[in-house]
Symmetry: C2
Subunit: 117 residues, 2 copies
C-alpha cells in the first residue's frame, strides 16, 4: 500500500458515506429513475416510458424507496380531473446533477450503447 | 412534457450511452471495485478487504466482467516469489474519477453512512 489515497478511502476502509451512495446507485433502475425526475416531474407512466424495460411493480417499489430516503415526492393535484399524480425530485436528488453530467460525458466517450450482460 | 430536456434524454428516450453506463454502475459492487482500483493497483485480497461484504466468488465474477469491458487489467509479475498478481485500472476506468469525486461530495452532504435496505 502507498501513501497515495484519494478522498474515497482511508488506508483500510472505503468512506462509509461514499459506500452508501454507491450502494444506492447500485440498485437496479434507481439511477435512471432519479435522472428522469431530476429532468422534470413525471407521472408514473412517463417514468415507465423513460426507463426502458422496468416493470410497473419494480418502478412502484423503487419510487417507494426513493420517497422514504427523501429523494422523491409524490404530488397529488386533486383539483385536476382526472386527479394528477406526479413524482417530483427533491433538492437531495437534484444535487446529483454533477454526478449525472460527469457520467454522461464519460459514457459518450467510453460506453457502447449496449454492454454485454 | 416541456421543451426543457437535459443532455441525458431526448423527448422520449434516455441517451443509450448514459443508460449503458448507469447499468454498468448498477451491477452490485462494480462501482466500489472500480473506485478501489482507480486509487491504486491491488491484489485480489486487498480488493476484497476494501469492498466490505463482497464474496470471493462475486469479486472474481465482477473482475472478469471488468476485464472483458476493458476497465481492469490483470498483471502478473512472475519474477516475484510468490508470483504477484495485481489488478490495475485502465484509462477507461480512471476517467470515471470526476464521477466518483462528484458522488463523494454529494455523499458527504446527503448520505447517512448506512441506508435502509
Amino acid at each position: 500500500m502507498t501513501d497515495q489515497k484519494t478522498m474515497h478511502e482511508t488506508a483500510t476502509n472505503m468512506c462509509p458515506h461514499y459506500e452508501a451512495a454507491m450502494e444506492l446507485l447500485a440498485r437496479r433502475w434507481t439511477g435512471l429513475i432519479i435522472t428522469t425526475l431530476v429532468n422534470e416531474p413525471a407521472r408514473f407512466s412517463e417514468i415507465s416510458t423513460a426507463v426502458d424495460g422496468i416493470s410497473d411493480r419494480m418502478l412502484s417499489q423503487r419510487l417507494g424507496e426513493l420517497e422514504e430516503i427523501g429523494m422523491v415526492e409524490r404530488k397529488v393535484d386533486a383539483a385536476r380531473r382526472p386527479v394528477l399524480v406526479e413524482y417530483v425530485s427533491t433538492e437531495m436528488a437534484r444535487e446529483l446533477t454533477p454526478v449525472f453530467n460527469a457520467l454522461q460525458e464519460w459514457a459518450e466517450k467510453w460506453m457502447p450503447a449496449k454492454i454485454e450482460a
